[in-house]
Symmetry: C2
Subunit: 323 residues, 2 copies
DNA sequence: CTGGTTATGCTCACGATGAGCATTGAGTTG
DNA sequence: CAACTCAATGCTCATCGTGAGCATAACCAG
């Protein structure tokens, strides 16, 4: 079944927490990279002892970081040959199954690992303070140059089309879920470090735009991260996953801030309240939070029964309309 | 990285077509099963030559069936130890990446393979002629016995709760997307052949209900199939994937029938027309289909531009309301 | 007590959706 | 050829979810 080149299989974890309105992911320092690079936690599947892939993940995350994972979801399996430059030169082909895990704010015992702001890797994804300036200043002109540099008119048109859809340009609205599409486009246009690194040694560089200011990762880990953010944003809308990131009792504003942090957009406060309250997602506890700075807020908790009542309960994050 | 027991990796394909209002999947005959069993097409990843997993899939599907795949999407990676009974007894651990592929009606050159009605495997999923009788006649009472047989009151309550949500019982509505959840529940309750087969040799049988009338598959292939149907039903709503299953020009009723076949529900004709027309999903070609049996229908084609205009264009399949 | 701050309540306009009636245009039938 | 059948197509209406904003309540700091 396996050819002359052997296959190795491993698991990657995107572990997410939200603290102080910042979505964070757990990263480790990659062992032997010259400018030290972030990597996603990685661990093996022990075929003899791990009954399932999930369990393998929980096992080694526990061993490596002491973290007990709650919500865990399989994301995607990455198996491109080019993902690891050592492959094809004697190394074995590495297939990696990526998982998304959500943990509560507090669970933060992380030996040897570091929490990083998700948006350091994707600055163009955070629209909470309006449209990120990097779009207008760097991404739009660079993508335009990239489209312009296509060999023929049809290819140029196709590139512009893709850029418009991914980044919501020229009358197309911004779709928060297309995180992966955007990252892959930037990779193709060689605007992220990984693209140039992977290309090194192959064909000569096209006349290229400067790299975007953003944090790179080893191998294709930033692609995995983009997959995770996109999936999480999509899932927010039809499954009550936010609550995995919150303490058992919270104010509605805290809830809203976590959703906003992940969705990367600001929401209308009163409508958000109406949505989660009339949607039956939360129930008041009667207790209050007096630390709000204004009128005390009631503490709410997640209403599990909502799963019985509505087929797709989630916090409807609106699309950003045409610009 | 791999322990004493080696890991093998392979790809499974769920290849879907819709003909004559029947959603069909391509199956092969499993080599050595005593009552001959259906299996999903399976092929290896050739680590030395297959650049990506997608390409590996397309390659061996082409080699085995002559079928050229269009739309292809990764579904899920299955790696439970129990998926293959030979594992742990000298066999290697088999991890399999499952893909969903959609092909046009006509592309049907299938040497050695057979197209099977998807609903033979999941008779409870087809609500087009109303609520499937098997629910009331067999599933509901069997699930009730299963819940009843739980060790304590809390477990009984939890089992009923899960059954209610999955199958839309006691005031919960039927959610077409929960195909996998339903199959897994039936597996746990040992109402499908696979569950009894997998259990054979382990603990003694609980007092069990008769098997449901439905077609079984090898290993965990029916679970993969359930994953595929659920994913496809979900995707219909926010991505224009139906068109992958249709010829370039079609009448609106043909389109509707394909959606209904997959969603497993009947739709309101006029509203469906309004949805796809005002949603900009299709455009008239000016040509007509005279074979309708009534007034001739205009032939439509998919409007690719819709991807530019709307963030989540799909055919909104309604939930079935509380019963 | 006053202004600042946040929580919470409520209204209004609008577009999307579910349901059904009405009409059109082909083939079929006496 | 008029009546009839069968779908396709056009249109209306009630309802509901959603975006936006005004208004009021309840705490704190000065």
């Amino acid at each position: 079944m396996s050819g002359p080149q052997p296959i190795a299989i491993g698991l990657n974890a995107v572990i997410v927490a939200v603290t102080a309105e910042v979505p964070r992911i757990l990263t480790v320092r990659a062992p032997a990279t010259k400018p030290p690079l972030d990597a996603l936690p990685f661990g093996p599947l022990e075929p003899a002892t791990d009954r399932t892939l999930d369990r393998a993940l929980r096992r080694w995350v526990g061993e490596q970081t002491g973290l007990g994972l709650g919500y865990v979801e399989q994301l995607y399996t990455f198996g491109d040959r080019e993902r690891d430059p050592r492959e094809g030169r004697g190394g074995s082909r590495l297939v990696s199954v990526a998982y998304l895990a959500l943990v509560h704010e507090r669970a933060a015992s992380t030996a040897g690992a570091e929490w990083r702001d998700w948006y350091e890797f994707f600055p163009w994804e955070d629209w909470r303070r309006g449209r990120p300036p990097v779009l207008e200043e760097a991404i739009e002109p660079a993508l335009e140059r990239w489209a312009e540099s296509a060999p023929d008119a049809a290819a140029r048109r196709e590139r512009r089309e893709r850029a418009d859809i991914a980044f919501g340009l020229r009358g197309v609205g911004w779709d928060g879920d297309r995180v992966l599409e955007r990252y892959e486009l930037l990779y193709e246009a060689e605007l992220v470090e990984e693209a140039r690194r992977d290309r090194a040694g192959r064909r000569a560089a096209a006349p290229s735009s400067p790299l975007l200011p953003s944090r790179a990762m080893v191998l294709d880990h930033r692609r995995i991260l983009a997959t995770a953010l996109g999936r999480l944003r999509g899932k927010l809308k039809y499954r009550p996953v936010v609550f995995e990131l919150l303490p058992p009792a919270f104010t509605l504003l805290q809830l809203q801030r976590v959703v906003e942090a992940l969705a990367g957009v600001r929401l209308h406060k009163q409508n958000f309240r109406r949505l989660v309250e009339t949607g039956g997602l939360v129930e008041g506890t009667g207790r209050q939070d007096l630390e709000t700075g204004g009128r005390p807020a009631e503490l709410f908790s997640f209403r599990r029964e909502v799963l019985r009542e509505r087929p797709a309960p989630g916090v409807g994050v609106p699309y950003v309309r045409r610009v």
